[in-house]
Amino acid sequence: MKKRLLCFIAALMIITAALSIAACSNNKTQYTAGQAEKVLRIDEENLGYPSVYTVSSRGRGYLLMSFIFDTLTWKDENGIIPLLAEKWDVSSDQKVWTFHLVKNAKFTDGKPLTAADVKFSFDYLKAHPHPWVYLNMIDEVKTLDDYTVEIALKQVYAPFVTDVAGNVPIMPKHIWESVKEPEKFNTPEAVIGSGPLKLAKYDKDGGTYIYEANKDYFYGKPVIDKLILSSNQNSLQALENGELDAALRLKYGEAIKLKEGGKFKVIEGPGLWVARVYFNFDIPEFNQREFRQALYYALNRQEIVDKATRNSTIIGNPGHIHPDSEWYFKDVKQYEFDPEKAKQLLDDAGMKDTNADGIRDYNGKALEYEFLVTDDKVNEAEMTKNYLAAIGIKINVKAMDQTNVDSLIKEGKFQLALSGHGSFGGDPVLLARFASKNVTVGSTPTVTAQGGRNWSSARFDQLFAEQLKQTDKAKRYEQVAELQKIIAEELPTLTLYYKKIILAYNQNKFDGWFFTKDGVAIAVPTVENKLVFVRGHWK
């Protein structure tokens, strides 16, 4: 007995000791930083080696890569700005774009960045497809001289400036032309770009990134010397202990508490991140519009926002587009919480409980589904389960981590799913996720695609294709509004809520943070726009 107890106590002591040592060592690593050098420390997750093809294909992966690789155009808090291209023109038929490059851009190995590198990058990405970028609309990329590039399109593409020119990373031709397998290219050459930061160190196991300033950055010398991104276990604690200068991975409630504490500044912006219910259209009844509408009526979205997300989100819009977006159209079909209406719709669709087991049946099969959710959405799942039980639909919740949920949805191995993703906002090209494959020539990341049979509508496809070619913004808005009406009516997905993002930071060290309008590149929501490191101010 004694021996066992001793073992137990010893084990406890070892664990406590290990924890406190870990805590202490955390405290110690920070003092070396931030004295002479201007080091900025932010929390991040491990997203892989930050080269174009090796970094995670999620939005934040793009962000880490964008610190190193520049694009022709970029965005700041007010919208589109020139970056590598100091100006550009477009032909009257909107099909030929001419970009005039800055003359002083240089790669960090000292070689100048020229039109040849731009042409090369477009061609390379076309030859080696990447989930961020689709270039199907491009006919040809030509270099007119060392600093002029002409891009000819096969057809008009409305979001070209943001989603193509503002998205394609310009890679040094002299390095990449010999790279045959970019997915395996993870040498120091793979992270030579023209951006404000260069990679000094990446710790693959710990997920720590150390970037150093590119002092020769053509856009301006960065105000920081070093940027350290590390995967902290507890961002709140790390921020409070001074181990971080800014923290993104905070819970909304934590951030509110920090704000109330007054020691840190907290800014809040649209997350460009949506949580939605996916239907697998291989299941016959999911193809009935009334069924999907009934589900939407049955969900008390306001209560989900209040209780499950504790106000860290805003309520989802039936037309899918974020209400803060300039493309938002509000007069679409609305679905106020109404279980009676939901039941009526199901009754009318012939889905009645024929065997009195409390679950409705359709074609002799009970309406019982597996509900795949990400492991951070168990509260939402619990509420959804209750709402649906109230109208006679049974769901069995299966929770998995984001990566697994993503791949199951992508492979179509699910029935009903609740998941969320970024790349939401910016150009309405994001509605491509509801268009058939043959019309989605746009640059919409495949991370949001779902496998199995998809919803499809010929009218939606046609309108979607038309608006992509519409260069008159007012006319395009009308078409996009029409698309939102169709989505609200048809509900190919149930938009539950949009996340807000927050950044809490020590304003006594570094400030100048802003939310990028519509997110960087293809709408990666962020405050970590690389320009912050150039335009911000060190205190």
Binding site: G253, L372, E382, V397, A399
Partner: protein, 264 residues
């Protein structure tokens, strides 16, 4: 003498816990799945342990946790101990290639990280409490088998068991005959598996195996730790501490019992 008291107290605790699990609907103040209360209430006479972030009554959840947590723990331990023991005895009984195959299989399950087994299982399994039990059993039996095999191989050489072999007794006869030899080790393994399962259950729910909505202590601990205000104010006292205390008491009580078996 004091050991006797510890043993009795442990039995008393385990039996009390099991009875709470069996009869909690009669003493639970509310339905544990009901989240219609105001969230994050402090303890009051209406809610002795207050409510959680969603508005569940915490006392009702704690009581409901007795049933599912203990059922999972006991059932998973029972299955893994049974499988492990039978395979171990098969090794001793059949020897030769049967032994080799089972030992290889056991080693495989021991070296393959549990997480791999889990992910593999998660893809195939429908979510639910049964699958939690099966999954825990799936990666626990090998440890039981390894320990019990060693015991069985010594035990089967004992003359009283060789007698059964001489009468051409089947593996079941041998198992029954060996039971008294194996019992302390089997009971110890059973109890260890129980405590492990009690702790593991909540983790599994987040691997897509169990039912993440099943009301268990593990789930309560997890949601409590996810609540950012848990340590500011006294919330941890009525939100986090009770389920942790329940798991600890259960595990410690079982360890006391396990120890007594082992000493036999």
């Amino acid at each position: 003498m004091s050991k006797k008291i510890a043993n009795k107290a442990a039995w008393a605790i385990v039996i009390t816990m099991l009875s709470v699990g069996a009869f909690y609907p009669f003493i639970s103040p509310y339905n544990a799945a009901d989240f219609s209360f105001r969230p994050l209430m402090d303890p009051s006479t209406a809610h002795l342990l207050g409510t959680d972030e969603m508005g569940h009554d915490l006392l009702s959840m704690l009581l409901a946790g007795f049933r599912i947590t203990l059922t999972i723990a006991l059932a998973a331990a029972l299955i893994s101990t049974f499988i492990g023991t039978v395979l171990a005895v098969a090794c001793a009984y059949y020897k030769n290639w049967v032994d080799t195959v089972i030992v290889k299989l056991t080693e495989l399950f021991i070296i393959v990280p549990e997480i791999v087994v889990l992910l593999f299982f998660a893809v195939l399994a429908k979510p639910g409490v049964y699958n939690t039990i099966l999954a825990i059993a799936l990666f626990s039996w090998s440890k039981v088998a390894r320990i019990i095999r060693a015991k069985s191989i010594t035990a089967i050489e004992k003359e009283k068991i060789q007698y059964t072999l001489l009468l051409k007794g089947s593996i079941w006869h041998v198992l029954i005959k060996m039971w008294r030899e194996l019992y302390p080790a089997v009971a110890t393994m059973f109890i260890f598996q129980c405590s492990k399962a009690a702790v593991y259950e909540s983790t599994l729910a987040f691997f897509g195996i169990g039912d993440p909505l099943a009301i268990t202590w593990g789930r309560m601990i997890r949601t409590a730790l996810n609540y950012e205000g848990i340590f500011t104010g006294g919330a941890y006292l009525w939100y986090l501490l009770p389920p942790i205390a329940c798991v600890c008491i259960f595990v410690v009580a079982l360890s006391v019992l396990a120890y007594d078996f082992e000493r036999e």
